[in-house]
Structures are given as C-alpha cells and as structure tokens.
Amino acid sequence: MIDYDYRKPGNLEEVFSLLKEYGPHAALIAGGTDVMVKIRNTRKAPEVLISLRGLKELSYIRKNGDYHIGALATHRMLEQSDLVQRELTALYEGASRIGSVQVRNVATIAGNICNAAPSADTAGPLLALDAQVLLQGPEGERRVPITEFFTGTYKTVRKETEVVTEIRIPAEMERFGSAYWKQSRRKAMNLPIVGIAVSLRLDNATISDARIALTVAAPTPIRAYKAEEFLTGKPMDEAVLAEAGRIAASTDCCTLRDSLRGEAWYRAEIIEAYVPRMAKLAAERIN
C-alpha cells in the first residue's frame, strides 16, 4: 500500500530542517500535480511529502526593475496577470495552455521547471525570456540561469537541500516581443508534441537579438542557438525566417525522437513551420 507522511511547514527554515532530517526520504510538493501522478504511476512514495503551500509569501508576480515570479505562483495567476500577458506574452501563452483550469489553479511555475520534463510548458518561454532561477538552501541563495538549470530529463541542478524560491526575468525583456506555440492534438489536457518559444528585438527592420527555445526536442528543454545566431542582424523577411526554422529543426539544434505522441519527422515539420510564425508574432508584440 502507498503510504506517506505529509508535513506543511510555515516558513523556509522549517522546510530546510525537514529536508535535512529526512534527506533522500523526503520530497517537496507544491501543487502536487506532478508529484501525485508519479506516486500513483510508480506506486511508490517518499516517506514524507513536505508541502510548500504554507509559504504564502512565495506566491507573487511583480515588476521591480526585473520581473519577479514567486515559486508558488500558479499557472492561473500567470494566466490572469496583465503584466505577464502584456510584457512576457510567451510565458502567458505557456502557462495558460497547461492542463485545464483546475490544474492551473494549483500547479505552480516552480513545480513545472523542477519536475524538468522535456515537455514543460513554461520551460520554453522561460528559456526564451532569459529567466534565472533563485535557489535557497541552508547555506544561502544562488542564482542559476535557466539555460543551466536542466541537467537531464527530470533532472536539475537543484540540490536535495534547496528550494526554488523565485524565477527572475531581466528588465531588458521589456523591449522584446515573445510568443509560444504548443503543438498538441487537442486544446486542453494535453502535453505538447513539441513547443516553440521565440523572443526577439528589432532595430528598425533588423533582428537585433533573438532567442528560440524548443521543448520535446531534446532530453531537456533547449535553446536553438544556431538558429538564433543566424537570425541576429538579419532582416525580418520570409526567407530569413524560413531558414531559421530549418536550422532550428535540424540536428544542429535538436535531437528529435519518435515517441507515442509524435514522430521525429513530424516534430521537425512543426518546428520548421512555427519558428517563423512565432517570430512574426513576437515581432508584432514588441512594445
């Protein structure tokens, strides 16, 4: 029988001490929408689940120079935030396409990236928006660029004793437009077949800076650096964007594979089609 203890500390210090006490026998739980599914599927649970839901102060979205998103901000909060929708549109699009309203009401942004699925719907937008992950442990705080956060499928740089407390997006993203496309067979309750996030800046009609992120395109969410390099300094025209799409879909950028949800060739087609579409959308959204 599946059995576990459940603790709900009221502050970070208590979380650290519980983590220290139970070590590998504990797991953090926020919304629980990954944790509980995993417990049911594997029919195995850690000895104790340490809930972060007592840390009410970690549930915020604000702009204060940089953009600050508390670890416990739910996808629903992101979806309903005017600030996110206006200035971090790709993240709005990623969060608002997760599961269903019921899931988004409890599922958190930190849970999404800490679970580190190659398909995580906020990972692409966060990569395209140059996010940084703030981790706190008994020894203090560190900041990790999201490009270095994922170390493998379901693996991150987070140490057992650490808690993700915040996602930070640099103020300069203000001047970017961004967009995210989740390719899926239906409009809700679905994981992406592939995800494409683009953010860019224009200098007149020239692309001065661009980020392209892909999910379900490699063992972790990735940036398509080669395609970004190609775009930088080029004009925003059909031929350029199409070529960027081709580069992004190629083995220069991703390691696509066949799975039940989609075949590699089809994922490549979608990346190729949607990098240009998202780039155009991102350009339109520059404030």
């Binding site: 029988m1 599946i2 067979r185 239906r186 409009k187 809700a188 309750m189 089809y266 979608i270 089609a273």
Partner: protein, 794 residues
C-alpha cells in the same frame, strides 16, 4: 388547446440533479455488508504458454480472502463463440487475458496481492495483423475450436455475406467506377464511469448482480447458461442497475470480469465488487471493432448507382464478443444507404493476438459508412458530378424497399441533404481548394427497434397511487441518455398527469417485465410505444371509475350543501356528458367530459377519483395499474441476411467546412451541420444533446481518437495519451431537425441515439479532400497522414 402539453417540449432532465450534486449511487459508491474487493491479474504476453502460477505469497497477505486461477474454477467456456474461459490456465492469447483473480478486504490489498502472484510463461509466436494472420503458416491464435476440434486457420467460422443482383452485368452497365480501400481503427467508448459490478449470493446460491449492463435480461440468459455448466442450474439471477455512468456499447456483452466477480463471490461467500480503473477500461474492455474495406461502386451516365461491391477484413483480436457481429449491421448501410440495386458485401473476421472488440455507438455502421461515403465522393468525382448532387440523385425515398428488404416508411433524407447544402453554402464554397473545403456524408440506421434476438419486445408497468403519483417500472436501462425525462413526458402526456408526477424505476429484472436491451437506438421508440399502450389501459381504468364516481361525488356534494343551506337548489346537470368513459378525458391531472372540458361540476382532479376509488367499502376498493409488452411486427435477418428488422429507419446528413494548414497538416472544423430525420423531436434539448454528443464523438473518431496497439499491447491507456476531445475542442455544430413524423413511433418519434456519430468522420474526410486535394482513407485523419499525403502528391 395545444396538441401536446409535454411531448415535444424541452423539459429539463428530471433525475440528473442527484448526479450533479453527488447524491446518485454509482457502482463506485455502492457497498454491500461484508463486501470484498476483487482485482484481476492480466497476462504479460500477447501469446504464451503458462508454465506455472505461484499464488502462495498472495494468499499469505493479510486481508486476502481468495486467490483464484484457472485451476480453481470449472473449465467452462464463455463468450459469443465460446472461445475463451473465465481464467486462462494453459495459454494466454492477448495482453488482457485474465490469468488470476484476488478478493480482499480492501482494493489496495487486492492490488498488492495481484502483484505478488508469480506466473512463468513460455512465449509463443504471435500475430498482430489480420492480413498476416490469414496467410498460410501464420501462428494459430486458437489451436482448437470450442468443441476441441483442431483449427487450421485464424479465420472465424462467421461467414458474413450478402449478395443481391447481377454483379457481372452491373459492372458492364456502369459508365463510371471508383474503387477505394479504407480502414478504421480501435476507439474506446470512453464512458465517464468505468466498468464494475458487485456479485452477491444468498445462502441458497441465488445471485444478485449489481451491474451496469444495458441488457439486463440478456445478461441473465448468459449467466444462467454459465450456471448450468458450473452446477448452479436453476438458480435465480437478479440483475440490478446502479446509476450507470455511460454505456456507448460497453455494457452489451457479459464481460469476463463479471464472471470473475461471480466466481470470487461463490468462493468467499461474500459480496465481491470489481471496479475497473481507467487503465483497465482502456486495456481490458473491448473497444470498437477495427476494419479494412475494399469498396467499389459504379453508376450510370446520369449518376444513378448501379452496384456496390465491398469486402471487409475485421481484426477480431484473440476472442469473440459482439465486435465480430458488427458486419450484420454493416450490411444495412452497405445495402441500403442510397438506392443501389446490385450489392455484394463480404466480411471476414480474423483472429489475432490483439485486443478483441465489442459494441460501440453505431455498431459497425460508422466503419461501413466511412467506406460507403468515401466511395460516394470518389465516384461522384469520376462521374464529374457534384458530390451533394450525386447523393441527392441516389437518395432513399419514402416507400422504398431496399435490397436487404428494409421497408422505408418515413424518410427525410432529401430534406437533410438539402439543409446541409444550404447551411454550408455548399455551391459557393465547394471546389475552391486553397486549404478550405466542404464535405458531406449521410446515414441510415435502425430507428424502430432492431430484431437481433427472437423477441425485440419491451415491457413497461404503470401504477398510480391515490395521490396521483405514477410509478413506472421500465424494463430498459438508464445509462444517462435522458430516457427518464422522455418517458416521463410520454407517460404524463398519455395518462393526463404531469412529468413531475412520474417516478421511474429502471434496470431491475425482478420488477421489470422483459426487454431486449437498451441498445440500437431503440429505447424511446420501444418504451414509448409500450408506455402509450400501458397508459391507455390505466387511463381506461381511471375513466371507468370516474364515470361511476363523479355523479356520486357531485350528488353527495349537493346533498351536503342542501343540509347546510335548505334554500340551495340543485342545478340541473346533463349527466349524459359523463355517462361513458369514451366521452371523458384526462389532461394535466384533471378528468373532464370531452364535450364540456371546463364543466363546473364534472371537471375533477385525478387524485380525487383515485382516492375515492381506493378508500371505499368492502369488496369495492380498486387500484389502478397496467402493463404492456410491445413487440413490433419486424423480422429477423434470414440466411441471406435480409429482413425488415426495424419498424422504421433514421436518416441524416452531416456536412462540415474545414480549414487545413498545409504546413502542419492540422484540420480545423469551421462549421458542422448535422441534419437528422428524427420522426418527431420528443424533447428538443435532449435531442440536441444526442446530436451534439454523437457529433463530437464522430469528430474524435475522424480526427484524433485511436487506441494505439503495438504488438498486441495498448500503448496509450489514459486520457493523457488517448486523444478524446475535450470541452475546449468543441466545434460549432448546427443541428437541423427534420420531423416527418413516423406512423409507428410514439407520437411520431424515431430513434436517434447513434445516428449523429455515423456520418461525421467521412464528412470530414470528404471536406479535407475538397480543401487540399488529398484523400485520407485511414482513420483517424491525423496531421501526420495529411502531411505525408501532401508530400507524396508533390
């Protein structure tokens, strides 16, 4: 006065308040004293010999009350062709083979016990493709038949064949011919409530089965047969439905888990519940039958169909349930959708080591109609005729008798085709390509019962208490289709009371008369007709009493008034108005003379008559109750697969407009028009519910749904990976209700439960073709298939 007070009105669903507030008792909620929980161990191979089963650890687990294997129960064969046993003891032939079963005091313990059973297998060569399975030398799924005679082939001894006319001559006569090969795959019925039952024996081994079946009496038949073979001959079986969370065909056969629950209950002497989880629902419940059709049609210069020739191969899976009988229904669209004089249809069912199939909404018709309607478009193109026009030319008409001997009575197909054409702006939109297109498809289906068993009867009982409440004991089942509401409407109309006076009991074999099953879109038609007959009888009983009692009551009242007021003058009344029951009627709870409906003295509440009829002196007291058993004058299919098996037939046409993204292969449905000839809309809102629901299921069938079976194993047994459409994916549906009125239907109604699903997928396929010029002949129409086809064209 309006014709009908309740029939034809959008009265809200009556009993659903309990469902949405959590009060309704589903099988999940139902508990019996001392009840145990059963769990099944399934095979780990598609084909293997069982070398040994070790249950010792499972038996030792605390809380376990029984662990059964094939060695522990009688070796009795069950199923449509008796080609399997309840627990498999020598050979497993598919991943869902039931190898052992556990009963324990909690579901968790049962599950743990199952995981402790060790089975040693020796793998056998398996075959997963029906075409491979037909080849000589293919591994045999069954080495012997039910009687132990050796088998030489995987082809089932079920030769479905239908032939009318002169095919050779017809081919010669045809000016245009088109040939297509189309295929359809497994899809799950996706009931909201998963499968489950509770088996409970009394001390005398009489069985009560709390079960979600929609064929309560057929269930008894199959279980009795099983009882005879396990030494329980003659025992009484009672089947009781809890609230059922959807059926869509899943509850038509008696499934293996039900026999297992019975065996566990027998063994432990306790009630035993088995309840599937969603994975089991996907892996261990028979889904819709997949099929491959090669279809050829020909027409003359004017576009009149001359022949239709079709051969189908059905992947039967390892055992046989109703899936193997779907060709009997396929014959209907094959022979009778549109006018076609020469028809040949042959279906071959082939054993493989895949999962086996059962019934699902439409019962073979969606598959066959996909073939026919794909071919209709191909042939229209070959003949250079607009596909809508082509269908119009060949439409069925009232009074037709089809090659299968179906007698078409009411038929609104002409109106349906025309409505779709108009609503889609067909003539402006068709043939433009550039990623947008329109397509249509039609259907025929049984709509007045379906005589698939010797009796297609349906019984109903109606009784009234002295307050005017009406208890209706229905022999059918309520699986959520809205029957309680519609039957309440019919009973209240026919009896002269109100829908809120009606209290229905469904699905209890001890109370109900008999019914062939709540399947084949037959419930409203059958129960409605039975209700009309029973209500006429009950009404007559009430009016007989009224004729006697009203004069007495009125005179008694005058006497009282005189006593109070000696001046009172008794009015001079024409008692002839209420002398005969034929001159009286009941409406909206009031009894009145037909000639003077608002008569100040003769208009009496029904409850007053019922009360005064019951609470009277010795020997005079009466109650009102009536029953009816309606068995329509239809025919079973004969050896040539001909016969008018239904009193009437449903027709309809679905049209869709799509937009196809040629870079990604995505199909978006911009508009779906579903025009249905329903005879008469009994409850327009509920009717729309059936049309929308079936339509969306049809969209899923056309575009997204697919049980992915790889080497016999179901790879996507969850709603995460099985792409059933969600509420967010709804497409704009416009329903067009065509109401010609059917002379045999209750108040003119025909069945409509299944039709909406049938033509949806081919309409989408045809629209995709119109949009981008490639035809997808294999369901579902995925973006991958579209992109591949577009590339091949380039």
């Amino acid at each position: 006065m309006p014709d009908h007070l309740f029939v034809g009105k959008s009265i809200p669903r009556t009993i659903e308040a309990d469902k949405v507030t959590g009060k309704a008792v589903y099988i999940n909620d139902l508990k019996r004293p001392g009840m145990l929980y059963g769990k099944i161990l399934y095979s780990s191979h598609a084909h293997a010999r069982i070398k040994s089963i070790d249950t010792s650890m499972a038996k030792q687990l605390q809380g376990v009350r029984a662990v059964l294997t094939g060695q522990d129960i009688p070796d009795v064969r069950v199923g449509f062709l008796k080609d399997q046993t309840v627990l498999k003891k020598d050979v497993v032939r598919q991943f869902r083979d039931e190898v052992a079963a556990v009963a324990a005091i909690s579901p968790e313990i049962a599950e743990e016990a199952v995981s402790l059973i060790k089975v040693e297998y020796e793998k056998l060569p398996a075959v997963f493709d029906p075409f491979e399975a037909m080849k000589e030398g293919a591994p045999l799924v069954h080495e012997t038949d039910a009687r132990g005679r050796p088998l030489k082939s995987n082809i089932l001894p079920l030769p479905w064949k239908f032939a009318v006319g002169d095919m050779e001559q017809a081919r010669k006569d045809a000016a245009y011919i088109a040939k297509d090969t189309v295929s359809t795959t497994w899809v799950n019925q996706c009931c909201m409530g998963t499968s489950g039952c509770i088996a409970e024996f009394d001390q005398n081994n009489n069985l009560t089965l709390y079960d979600q079946t929609n064929v309560i009496f057929g269930h008894i038949g199959r279980i009795s047969e099983y009882f005879e073979r396990i030494g329980l001959a003659g025992k009484k079986i009672r089947v009781v439905n809890p609230v059922v969370g959807g059926s869509f065909g899943t509850k038509l056969d008696t499934d293996i888990y039900e026999f297992i629950a019975i065996q566990l209950a027998l063994n432990t002497r306790k009630p035993v519940k088995i309840l599937f989880d969603r994975e089991e629902e996907f892996c261990a419940l028979p889904p819709r039958q997949p099929a491959v059709f090669t279809i050829e049609q020909g027409c003359d210069k004017e576009g009149r169909l001359i022949f239709r020739h079709c051969e189908a191969i059905l992947d039967n899976g390892a055992y046989t349930s109703w899936g193997a009988t779907t060709p009997s229904v396929m014959i209907m669209p094959m022979s009778s959708l549109y006018r076609v004089p020469n028809v040949y249809f042959k279906a071959t069912c082939v054993y493989t080591n895949n999962i086996y199939a059962q019934a699902m909404r439409g019962y073979g018709n969606p598959q066959a109609t996909f073939a026919v309607e794909t071919s209709m478009d191909s042939l229209a193109e070959a003949a250079g005729i607009d596909p809508a026009e082509f269908r119009f030319i060949n439409r069925n008409r009232p009074g037709d008798e089809t090659p299968m001997n179906l007698k078409i009575t009411s038929c609104g197909l002409e109106e349906c085709i025309t409505a779709v054409r108009d609503r889609l702006q067909w003539d402006q939109k068709r043939g433009k390509q550039r990623g947008r297109g329109v397509g249509m498809a039609s259907l025929i289906h049984v709509a007045g019962g379906a005589r698939v068993t010797k009796s297609d009867g349906h019984g109903i009982r109606v009784k009234l208490d002295e307050f005017g409440h009406v208890d209706v004991i229905e022999s059918g089942t309520d699986q959520g289709q809205g029957s309680p509401t519609v039957i309440s409407q019919i009973v209240s109309e026919a009896l002269g009371v109100r829908p809120e006076d009606i209290f229905l009991t469904f699905g209890d074999t001890a109370l109900a008369l008999w019914d062939a099953g709540t399947h084949a879109s037959r419930h409203t038609f059958m129960a409605g007709n039975a209700a009309v007959i029973a209500c006429a009888k009950a009404k007559r009983q009430i009016l007989d009493m009224a004729v006697e009692l009203i004069p007495r009551l009125v005179k008694g009242e005058f006497k009282r008034m005189k006593r109070k007021d000696p001046e009172f003058v008794e009015p001079d009344l024409d008692y002839g108005l209420i002398a005969n029951p034929e001159d009286m009627d009941i409406r909206d709870r009031m009894i009145f003379p037909k000639k003077d409906p608002d008569h100040p003295y003769f208009k009496v509440p029904i409850s007053e008559i019922l009360r005064n009829g019951l609470h009277v002196g010795i020997g005079e007291s009466r109650v009102v109750a009536a029953e009816a058993f309606y068995d329509p004058p239809t025919e079973m299919l004969n050896r040539d697969m001909k016969g008018n098996l239904s009193m009437t037939y449903a027709f309809g046409t679905t049209g869709v407009e799509v937009e196809v993204d040629e870079e990604t292969g995505e199909v978006q449905i911009l508009k779906l028009v579903a025009a249905h000839d329903v005879g008469k809309a009994m409850n327009p809102t509920l009717l729309l519910g059936q049309i929308y629901g079936a339509g969306y299921t049809g969209v899923g069938y056309g575009l997204t749904e697919e049980i992915k079976v790889r080497n016999g194993r179901v790879m996507n047994p969850s709603f995460r990976d099985y792409q059933m459409l969600t509420a967010m994916d709804v497409v704009p549906i416009e329903a067009v209700i065509v109401e010609p009125g059917d002379k045999d239907g209750p108040y003119g109604a025909k069945g409509v439960g299944e039709p909406g699903l049938v033509p949806t997928a081919p309409a989408i396929a045809n629209a995709v073709y119109d949009a981008i010029g490639v035809r997808i002949r294999d369901l579902p129409i995925t973006p991958e298939k579209i992109l591949t086809a577009l590339k091949e064209r380039k």
